[in-house]
């Protein structure tokens, strides 16, 4: 054990996310890691995790709960560190599968330049963004993934801005694969996780991961919240192929009741802070664009 490379006392095979981590109860990111772990089915990966909950509560030395080799990177640079790993491995002829695992702060905000640049170079990386819509380990500040109306410690009266459409941004890089995964639709999520693991080039996956601490929601209700976000149309579950073709994987029922329940179940949305009609209008507008992309520009009567 010399220098900065240290062997974790926990070695051998086992789950990707081991017991003993200090994630909060009901942490959506933990569930997402388990989805990745199950999707591996014998595939070996190397992970890059920037300064975020996934390193602070899971990967602090020497009690790392990760069952795979891992680099803890600076906050802004998971995609850059991943580039270095993947390039060096390729030059050495090592078969390698590098997975960058970053939150919304490290992807939408401080890491945006590195993510965009790695995508443009089509680096051989699987980049997974677990989006809990908040800076979690610093106590809950807004990010550019925080939805409008949500109260955080730096938006005490509710955030005013819309959240970035990160899937559209990544798809605009025309990379081999972009997809959103629902924790409430595990078959679809596992299929897309495995598809992304086996592709080459830059693949981008996005998961909405409930954060009971930041969302002020019941830890046991996380999956239900994702189900509501999907069925109300708030969180579209789809994939974008390298040719730009959009495939919608889960059809929402666009229920207003479900949408209302989603907001009511979270303490971060104060009553009256979120105007449901406005949210519905915003959802409808993004689905109109999505349907157009899914139909290759032909008219689609489903949203008429």
């Amino acid at each position: 054990m010399t220098g900065a490379t240290q062997e974790s006392p926990q070695t051998g095979t086992g789950p990707l996310l081991r017991p003993g981590n200090t994630n909060c109860g009901g942490c959506g990111m933990s569930i997402a890691l388990n989805v990745l772990g199950r999707a591996l089915e014998g595939r070996s990966i190397q992970m890059v995790v920037p300064a975020c909950c996934a390193i602070v509560t899971v990967g602090s030395y020497p009690a790392s709960a990760y069952g795979v080799p891992l680099v803890s990177s600076t906050f802004a640079s998971a995609a850059a560190v991943g580039t270095g790993l993947a390039r060096a491995a390729r030059m050495n002829g090592d078969p390698t599968r590098v997975v960058c695992w970053a939150g919304d702060g490290g992807t939408y905000d401080i890491g945006m330049a590195a993510v965009s640049a790695a995508a443009e170079r089509n680096e051989d990386l699987l980049y997974v963004c677990y989006d809990n819509e908040i800076y979690g380990n610093t106590g809950g500040q807004r990010s550019s993934a925080t939805p409008p109306g949500a109260r955080t410690t730096t938006t005490p009266h509710g955030k005013l801005q819309e959240k970035k459409d990160i899937l559209a941004i990544m798809a605009a890089h025309r990379i081999p694969y972009v997809a959103s995964l629902s924790l409430a639709h595990l078959d679809d999520a596992t299929r897309k996780m495995q598809k992304a693991l086996d592709l080459e080039g830059f693949r981008f996956l996005h998961l909405l991961t409930p954060c009971p601490t930041g969302w002020k929601s019941e830890p046991a209700e996380g999956i239900e919240l994702v189900r509501q976000a999907v069925s109300s149309g708030l969180y579209p579950v789809y994939e974008v192929e390298s040719d730009g073709r959009v495939v919608i994987n889960v059809e929402p029922d666009m229920s207003d009741d479900t949408l209302a329940r989603y907001f009511a179940a979270q303490g971060r949305f104060r009553k009256g802070q979120v105007v449901l009609e406005r949210v519905r209008a915003s959802i409808d507008a993004s689905w109109k664009t999505l349907r157009l992309r899914a139909s290759n520009g032909e008219d689609d009567d489903r949203d008429a």
């Binding site: 802004a76 401080i110 610093t138 106590g139 500040q141 410690t153 730096t154 005490p156």
Partner: protein, 355 residues
């Protein structure tokens, strides 16, 4: 004046408002996040600009922009985040813009930990970013002093048109301690800003720029910055001597929280007849070399200097420079977020004085 009990970080935020700063740009990082969290709420009451940037590179450059318009502005961060501000600090110093920056130091290197440390001393006093420039660096050793130095920081920034850095360890940021604010309400805006970019109707345009492709012109500019810092050194060096010259047999050197702990240790060993003094720099840049040398010269023949820091020996360089080899300097330091206790320091004092 009434005392207020708040967390150190919140009191720093309030002190900025009392100093007249209503423009804050920052980014979350432990253990300083209470500064932005406090200011976003207070600015909603008193009126102010609050922006949560997309990164520390964003926040320091927002400061660069705001400072260029001649307003009092502030950003705060902690060690890894402050490291990202290095290039911006260089530009701001090069363009001679006034601003105040807070670094609530945590243990490093790398991602390190979130507990208190003093391991950014070199970075704060010798470095920041590239190029030949200096920054005024203030190191409080209590929350009250942090508040007082915050007010002073804005005065110095404006007076010298230079960035001022406040370095406090996480202990000061996270500790709750009652303080008195020397001024009431929202302080005055910047007065002396006839250089600021405010629109040029009816006068010549002003330009904020640090690009000098002519080596002669750039040399001239460096000389000007150098002379300015010499002036700052002449006028603004601050330090504290705990003890009376001629009445101590050992001189401790320490700054920030560590100095405060050493005072307790010194009081502890006084009853045993051990006579120890403490020299504490308040401005760690410019460093009070002359005052420290005087304090060292007051030691008896063979009297030693004992430097204690929450790092592996960084201010130690400046202590040795001040002594110029005239005194033996013994060092004790801790890292990783471990804060030495007064008992630990007292035990070291006994080791030195009663071998």
């Amino acid at each position: 004046m009434t005392k207020v009990l708040m967390k150190g970080n919140e009191e720093l935020g309030e002190a900025a408002i009392r100093a007249g700063c209503i423009h804050f740009f920052g980014y979350p990082i432990t253990p300083q996040t209470e500064v932005p969290e406090y200011l976003v709420k207070r600015y909603a009451e008193v009126g102010g600009t609050f922006v949560q940037a997309e990164s520390e590179v964003g926040s320091i450059n927002m400061i660069y922009g705001a400072a260029g318009t001649g307003v009092k502005c502030l950003t705060s961060s902690s060690s890894p985040g402050y490291a990202l501000m290095a290039e911006g600090m260089s530009y701001i110093a090069a363009c001679e813009l006034p601003c105040v920056v807070i670094n609530i130091m945590r243990a490093g290197p790398g991602l390190g930990g979130i507990l208190p440390a003093q391991s950014d001393y070199w970075q704060a006093t010798k470095g920041h970013g590239h190029g030949d420039y200096r920054v005024i660096v203030l190191a409080p050793s209590s929350v009250q002093e942090a508040v007082d130095l915050m007010i002073l920081a804005f005065e110095l920034a404006e007076k010298y048109r230079n960035p001022v850095l406040i370095v406090a360890d996480g202990m000061i940021g996270q500790m709750m301690e009652p303080v008195e604010f020397p001024v009431e309400g929202v302080g005055e805006p910047m007065k002396d800003n006839d250089w600021a970019l405010t629109g040029c109707e009816g006068r010549e345009r002003r330009i904020v720029n640090s690009l000098y492709l002519s080596p002669e012109k750039l040399n001239e500019h460096n000389l000007k910055l150098h002379e300015k810092f010499a002036e700052i050194t002449k006028n603004e060096v601050r330090s504290e001597l705990y003890g009376t010259p001629g009445e101590y047999d050992l001189l401790i050197t320490a700054f920030g929280t560590m100095a405060r702990i050493c005072k307790t240790a010194i009081d502890e060993v006084r009853d045993e007849g051990l006579r120890v003094g403490l020299f504490r720099p308040i401005t760690i840049a410019p460093y009070p070399y002359e005052a420290l040398r005087e304090a060292m010269d007051a030691l008896p023949d063979g009297g030693k200097v004992f430097d204690v820091e929450m790092n592996m020996g960084q201010m130690l360089d400046d202590v040795r420079l001040a002594g110029e080899g005239t005194r033996e300097v013994i060092f004790h330091g801790t890292a990783g977020g471990i804060v030495p206790s007064p008992d630990e320091v007292a035990a070291k004092i006994r080791e030195i004085l009663k071998p």
